[in-house]
């Protein structure tokens, strides 16, 4: 996509019927670090890659609890993502208060999509630059939705967004048909394996990813580092000698970022603006 004379305003159509500003907003989602979601009939797992600005800083939070039965993973402008998470929490709690009943996730995503659409039709606004993977429950079971800056939303069995998400999507495409009946443990394992695909050769460590799960009898919660590392250990081969130290400290603290990550991830991300994670 190159600059053209129809892309200054979100309220300007191009002659071919495109809204370039909206499409540029969707580009912002592709620049963020990967987020993955998958679901079975009874559970939804959300996972994301922990990317930190520099060795000195901690990584940004990309998965948010909206309610006991709804969680969201974001990719793109995390600031926009936080604001939308706050909106979702507000909608959810207002519904709970009035009806003493959880807000069906299908209705929440429609509210979210309508909110995003407004920004594509006002000259004084800009589209939200964040893609949201919303996982939640309603009367018919577990659901996973993807909300786009364009105001569209889609339901998925499994999906990945953000940079290098294509690798994860390829992995998921091969396996998604079996997810419906997957056990909770298999679903978590598949999520972590999908995260690994986006790392493109970097060694997978529990400090590199965040995983959260919710289910029919399980309120939304994050998996702790130990639990994630245990799953990783079931499929990661025993590390070679030079990485022997890291294996020993498998249970890394969440904030620490190992030097190896810098080397592998640094080169491709020179163009990423600091606000996009």
């Amino acid at each position: 996509m190159f600059r053209n004379q129809y892309d200054t305003d979100v309220t300007t159509w191009s002659p071919t019927g495109r809204l370039f500003q909206v499409e540029y907003a969707m580009e912002a989602v592709k620049q963020g670090s990967a987020a993955i979601g998958l679901r079975s009939r009874s559970h939804v797992v959300l996972a994301c890659v922990n990317k930190a600005q520099s060795e000195l800083s901690s990584h940004q939070r990309k998965i948010f609890k909206v309610d006991d039965h709804i969680g969201v993973a974001i990719a793109g402008l995390t600031a926009d993502g936080r604001v939308l998470s706050r909106y979702m929490r507000s909608e959810s709690i207002n519904h709970s208060f009035t009806y003493e009943s959880p807000l069906p996730v299908g209705r929440l995503v429609v509210h979210l999509a309508d909110k995003a659409q407004v920004c594509t039709q006002r000259s004084w606004k800009r589209p939200y630059g964040v893609g949201l993977l919303v996982g939640g429950l309603d009367e018919s079971g577990a659901h996973l939705y993807y909300n786009c800056p364009s105001g569209n939303y889609f339901e998925y069995q499994a999906f990945a967004i953000g940079s290098r998400s294509q690798a994860a999507k390829t992995y998921l495409e091969r396996r998604f048909e079996s997810f419906g009946d997957s056990s909770r443990e298999d679903l978590i394992k598949d999520a972590i394996l999908a995260v690994r695909e986006t790392l493109q050769g970097e060694t997978l460590k529990s400090s590199l990813c965040t995983v959260a799960i919710l289910g029919v009898d399980e309120p939304f919660h994050f998996l702790d580092q130990e639990a994630i590392q245990k799953v990783i250990d079931t499929f990661e081969k025993v590390p070679e000698e030079e990485e022997g130290d890291e294996a020993g400290e498998g249970e890394a603290e969440a904030a620490a970022v190992a030097p190896a990550e810098q080397g592998g991830a640094g080169a491709g991300d020179q163009d990423v603006a600091p606000m996009e994670m």
Binding site: T98, Y99, E100, S101, P104, G106, R107, D138
Partner: protein, 249 residues
């Protein structure tokens, strides 16, 4: 009953015009509603009377209505406010149906919505002058609750409004059981309604019984209870009373 609002220096601010904008007293009222949980769902009974003060003016008022697929609402108190509530619930169920997404409002949701409405109106000093009984069955779970005009709300196995609280609930506390059959439930409700008919002056002898189960709601045709007025205590009420010269001998 009049309301006056006072500001710091003690002057009354509200005038007659402003008062006509909010509910001060009820005009056309319905009397008790009694409801119980039974084996297959909920049974609710109410008479068809609408009183205008002490006049038994309207005799064909349906005080119980089905709400959505899963709920049954009965009301005592101001009839026009009941109709207003039905309009609110109509809008609510319409919006719920328009979603068309497999999710539907159950009795718990409707009960809580009504609680919010009643409480908020009470806070504005403009109440909906009703006591509402909300019952329903959804996914096999039975629900029965009540909301008063000041927003007090709770659930129970048997509820009643107005005089029903004083005359019917003691009977229900003694005789209600978890696994009542439909016939037993109706008999129990009729027993309560008969007591109310004898003792509540705003009750009339024309009642309906509504049944709510997983399959849906049915409201019976109006019918009357058999009454007996030849009890000795009724024919000669003052026999043996303090200070009377009538004695039973």
């Amino acid at each position: 009953m009049t309301f006056t609002i006072q500001i710091e220096n003690g002057t009354e601010v509200r005038n007659a015009e402003a008062d006509s904008q909010r509910t001060l007293y009820p005009y056309v009222t319905g009397t008790s509603v009694v409801a119980i949980k039974y084996k297959d769902g909920i049974l609710m009974a109410s008479d068809m009377g609408g009183s205008y003060g002490s006049t038994l003016r309207y005799k064909n008022v349906e005080r119980m209505k089905a709400i959505g697929k899963h709920s049954l609402l009965g009301a005592s108190g101001e009839i026009s406010d009941f109709q207003e509530i039905l309009r609110y619930l109509d809008e609510l169920t319409l919006n719920d149906n328009m979603w068309d997404d497999g999710n539907s409002l159950g009795p718990k949701e409707v009960h809580n919505y009504l609680t919010r409405v009643m409480y908020n109106r009470r806070n504005k000093f403009n109440p909906l002058w009703n006591t509402l009984v909300l019952g329903g069955v959804k996914n096999g779970e039975k629900y029965l609750g009540m909301v008063s005009m000041i927003g007090v709300s709770f659930e129970d196995n048997h509820v009643a409004t107005g005089f029903g609280n004083h005359l019917a609930r003691p009977i229900l506390r003694d005789e209600w059981r978890e696994d009542l059959s439909f016939e037993e439930g109706v008999k129990l409700l009729e027993k309560c309604m008969r007591v109310l008919l004898y003792r509540d002056r705003s009750a009339i002898n024309k009642l309906q019984i509504a049944k709510m189960t997983e399959e849906g709601v049915t409201v019976s045709e109006p019918y009357s209870l058999k009454t007996f007025w030849e009890f000795k205590a009724f024919t000669n009420p003052t026999v043996g009373a303090e200070g009377s010269w009538l004695y039973d001998n």
